[in-house]
């Protein structure tokens, strides 16, 4: 390889001076941005009562805790140990299936409601600004209030049990999916819609034959994504008494049943993994491998 030809020193100095001037302003902006972030972090640290000393002192507790919840499985008789570790498996599996069914029914009901409302919230299908605005704001409220807050209120109104979880998930999902769906609808190709309304179709017929075929696969994909999220959410809804495995898990943590904590946590993680994998397969099939995200 040839060695590089050096520029004459005065030209190099001039060029590097120009380069420094050009990068200086960008660097100043970056530094200013970093300073703002650091100041905000300091403020947030004060608000969140960050105590680095307690953290440093007690970080040992974290590893100790992880050590304590490690499965009590030895090498002498591993199979018996695993049996003892998962002593409550049938009951836990029943609770886990309850959790998944809660997520399923909540996603389905919320999906149906979001589906119906998304067309009313789309600017390209609905003329009335008032109707659109009302639907959008309503969806926003459903979306912003977390499902566990709905569950807290519903537990008082409907009594303890998984039905509360289903309703809470359904309402939150309506808001989340309604918004995503309406964004999909707003981005469709408008020519089929024009074609149908030109040949005298009613609004419902236009939606059915011009809009639905374009958006259905995207809707299904978003719905499956939401289902994944809801399975995770449903696992903790039991914390407030809304059914599923959460109640059992909270009991295990609060009562320091260490082996149970790791056993149930393992089950939850495994379930979430399996559902993630399955829905990813289905989604890839639905929207085609080239546009899969």
């Amino acid at each position: 390889m040839h060695s590089l030809t050096k520029l004459p020193p005065e030209r190099e100095a001039a060029l590097s001076g120009l380069y420094a001037a050009a990068t200086a302003s960008a660097r100043r902006r970056t530094l200013a941005g970093l300073a703002v972030v650091a100041a905000l972090a300091l403020l947030a640290g004060l608000a969140a009562e960050v105590r680095p000393l307690t953290f440093a002192e007690n970080i040992g507790k974290f590893t100790a805790y992880l050590g304590q919840i490690l499965p009590p499985v030895g090498f002498e008789h591993p199979i018996a140990d695993v049996r003892a570790w998962y002593w409550g498996l049938p009951g836990w599996l029943a609770l886990l299936s309850e959790t998944v069914l809660m997520a399923y029914l909540g996603t389905l009901l919320g999906g149906i409601a979001g589906f119906a409302l998304s067309f009313a919230a789309s600017a390209n299908l609905v003329r009335s600004r008032l109707l659109r605005l009302l639907t959008k704001r309503g969806l926003e409220v459903c979306r912003t209030v977390p499902d566990i807050v709905f569950a807290l209120i519903f537990v008082i109104a409907f009594g303890l049990g998984p039905m509360v979880g289903v309703l809470a998930i359904a309402i939150h999902t309506t808001g989340a999916l309604g918004k995503l769906f309406s964004e999909v609808v707003e981005n469709i190709d408008m020519r089929p819609v024009e074609g149908l309304s030109a040949s005298g179709a009613t609004w419902i017929q236009t939606v059915r034959f011009a809009v639905l075929p374009q958006v259905l696969s995207n809707f299904a994909s978003y719905g499956l994504l939401r289902f994944e999220i809801n399975v995770r959410g449903a696992a903790v809804l039991g914390f407030v008494g809304a059914g599923g495995i959460g109640q059992e898990f909270l009991g295990a943590i609060r009562n320091f049943y260490y082996a149970d904590v790791s056993a149930i946590l393992g089950l939850i993680i495994l379930t979430v993994f399996c559902i993630d994998l399955a829905t990813e397969q289905v989604r890839n099939r639905l929207i085609g491998p080239e546009s899969a995200r």
Partner: protein, 289 residues
């Protein structure tokens, strides 16, 4: 086109339906296989839903009974008022924002280097990035509230545990998103750096980071938005913020204050959304998103 004319068009087409059917058989042929698949899928979905209704004891009577009570609760919520606790609530809201900000920042700082290890175009060893990816997946699939319960055991009750919980669960999510952004990054700047004699660290610093940084920053902002929402509930298990008040007030049925708190949360979240959307636009340019 006037409604009368389209109506006439419809009527004419309907009258001539048989003739049209004869002339364009392809357009009128029913796609039996597709229809059968659709009916099957619909049957499966409804069947599973019926099973779920039965298992979870969902019934119309229970819903109707509860709706009556819910209606009376809604009446009790009006008018929303803080009942003299406005400053306490505001302080709790500040705590919530602090939790969200600090948690997101810590997660982003931790996830940034790890994401490069999980990216296929940086670490070519398949086992390394597979292991990192699965580790991130495990962090991600544990819910924020569960992380909060674990951290409460370590640093005690309070907002610090909440910030740590958000940092942990977002570390997994951001690590995954960051590594995907790095993998889809343009290869050519990196190749240019290597061709002009840069080392692989130079390739990452000058070929990859400038390209991905705006994308990563926009994702971090998006997570900050969604974390202000999750930080409002983290108090339910005792990890600080406005959720603590929300839970207590719902339990004792102080519904006017509950309604006021929910309104405060809605306004804050809307404000944060607005600010971060504008920031994101300036970061990645108006064309994207």
């Amino acid at each position: 086109m006037s409604a009368a004319r389209t109506g006439a068009l419809r009527a004419e087409a309907r009258d001539n339906l048989a003739r049209l059917r004869g002339r364009y058989p392809a357009q009128f042929r029913a796609d039996r296989a597709a229809r059968a698949r659709f009916v099957l899928a619909l049957g499966a979905v409804t069947g599973l839903a019926a099973l779920a209704c039965w298992r979870l004891d969902v019934s119309a009577t229970r819903i109707l009974n509860g709706l009556g009570r819910l209606g009376s609760f809604a009446m009790l919520m009006l008018p929303p008022s803080p009942e003299g606790q406005f400053w306490t609530f505001l302080h709790a809201l500040g705590e919530t924002l602090g939790i969200a900000f600090l948690g997101t920042l810590a997660a982003a700082i931790l996830a940034f280097p790890v994401a490069f290890l999980a990216a296929r175009n940086v670490v070519s060893n398949p086992f390394a990035h597979f292991a990192v990816r699965r580790g991130l997946d495990v962090m991600r699939s544990v819910d924020v509230l569960i992380w909060a319960l674990i951290w409460i055991n370590v640093v005690g009750l309070g907002p610090f545990a909440g910030a740590l919980a958000i940092a942990c669960s977002d570390f997994g999510a951001l690590g995954k998103l960051f590594s995907e952004a790095i993998e889809t990054c343009d290869r050519r700047p990196g190749e240019g750096v290597v061709a002009s004699g840069g080392s692989s660290l130079h390739r990452i610093r000058f070929g990859l980071i400038p390209g991905v940084l705006p994308v990563l920053a926009s994702q971090v902002l998006y997570f900050f938005e969604s974390n202000t929402r999750s930080a409002t509930i983290i108090g339910i298990v005792g990890a600080g913020g406005i959720g603590q008040y929300l839970t207590e007030l719902i339990r004792v049925l102080e519904l006017k204050q509950v309604a006021f708190l929910v309104l405060m949360i809605l306004v804050t979240v809307a404000a944060i959304d607005w600010v971060s959307t504008r920031l994101r636009r300036t970061l990645i340019g108006p064309a994207a998103r």
